[in-house]
């Protein structure tokens, strides 16, 4: 019982089993959040008045601590996986909606107009024009949602050992084995970083028109533009930061 990969038998899982369980418990909510966020964001884009109240609701929801969320849900869904996954899905939703709205709003008006002029209907325009252009912004949101979801699952250990790799932490305390805590923290962090890297890779594959060096090139252009007086306004989505609540883009337990 000294190794990094040797698990105490009360967890009833191997190290790989815990990793699989952890990924399931953290990624399914992000996926669910994405599926709900897409139509909600589209409604916010279509009806502009809807966005500020949605932004306020999501900010307030985000302020509710995960542990508080878990324990309140115990009354309805018991000490189960579902109890952990529902708050995680809500948090993902909260991160993803502003990201998608910003992304779809950043589509240039000329591009939309060109699509309309070519006779592309609203559904196809959404799927073939707006969503692909919004991919970088959506993936920025997905990265934050995924990483925080992976690290939040551990808190589930507090409500009846539903924390996958987090369950190791309780054992680390009971048996006084720091190596178990090290195993939990390191494995979770590595999972989060791997998931993040995979999302970056997927974003690159989905946006082949943006070469890998595009960001650096854009930054260089921006820096050069400072002296030459670049058009004011900065990036489009930093615009309304002063008014409504800017989306809080991260959360760990």
């Amino acid at each position: 019982m000294n190794g990094f990969f040797d698990m105490p038998s009360d967890l009833q899982h191997t190290w790989l089993g815990l990793v699989g369980w952890h990924l399931q418990e953290s990624l399914v909510p992000v996926l669910a959040g994405l599926l709900v966020a897409l139509p909600v964001a589209q409604l916010c884009v279509r009806f502009n008045w809807l966005y500020p109240p949605v932004l306020w609701i999501t900010t307030v929801l985000y302020a509710v601590p995960s542990l508080a969320f878990f324990v309140v849900l115990i009354d309805y869904t018991g000490q189960s996986q579902t109890t952990v996954m529902i708050p995680l899905a809500l948090y993902s939703l909260v991160v993803l909606v502003p990201a998608i709205v910003d992304g779809v709003r950043s589509v240039p008006a000329e591009t939309n107009a060109a699509a309309v002029a070519m006779g592309i209907g609203p559904v196809r325009r959404y799927l073939r024009v707006q969503l692909p252009i919004a991919v970088p912004a959506i993936f920025a949101g997905l990265r934050v949602a995924t990483v925080s979801s992976i690290s939040l699952v551990s808190v589930g250990a507090l409500i009846g050992n539903q924390g996958a790799l987090g369950n190791l932490l309780a054992d680390a305390m009971f048996y006084h084995r720091p190596i178990l805590a090290v195993s939990s923290v390191v494995t979770t962090a590595v999972l989060a970083i791997l998931a993040d890297a995979l999302l970056v890779l997927a974003r690159r594959l989905l946006t082949p028109w943006q070469p890998p060096g595009a960001r650096a090139a854009a930054r260089a252009a921006r820096r050069g533009g400072r002296g030459a007086g670049r058009p004011s306004g900065g990036r489009p989505h930093s615009r309304d930061a002063g008014e409504g609540p800017a989306p809080a883009l991260e959360r760990v337990p």
Partner: protein, 221 residues
Amino acid sequence: MNVFHFVQAFFSDGAHWHGYDGIPRRMVEHLQYSAAALGVAAAIALPIGLVTGHTGRGGNALAFVATAARALPSFGLLVLMFVLMGLSILPVMIPLVVLAVPPILVTTYEAVRNVDASPVDAARGMGMHPAKILFQVELPVALPLILSGLRSAAIQIVSTATIAAYVSLGGLGRYIVDGLYQRDYEKVVGGAALVAALALLVLGLFWAVGRAVVSPGVRRR
């Protein structure tokens, strides 16, 4: 019985309002942990964010640090530090600071870097010292975004300070952790309601601070 009955029962019980395990004492403990962690995190992240944002360099390094810090699970870090260091305030401070640094660092950097170039160029043209440009031109314009970064850090700290109770420290998490062990659901829900209320209070506080310190000219834009 639903959640609201539990909350009502918890708050109407006079025994919860005074003494060692009373709400005022737990609330003060919770605020102490949170304020200390936010102070340390801001002292680390604000200067770095301001300077890197001003020079526009080091963005990739910052993004890397932020991703790495975000990937570390707070709860795991807390237990690990506790097992390694024993009972003190440090095992709680370390995860809370690690948690709060990325949002402050990244938003401050982005906020200062995205300040409209023309006023900055004008200030430079007038011969302002770089430090003066940073504090008198860039900082006031970037302030709303910087505050939003501090706000999300503060809310996360307040919610997360709950887990300090798991390693035998105080704070509002005491009610949640003790309630779970004692199968006293009323206590659990009462504690959860208190933490949520405190988080919303912080949200309101930052809104008020924003109204007070952000220049009207910047706000109106």
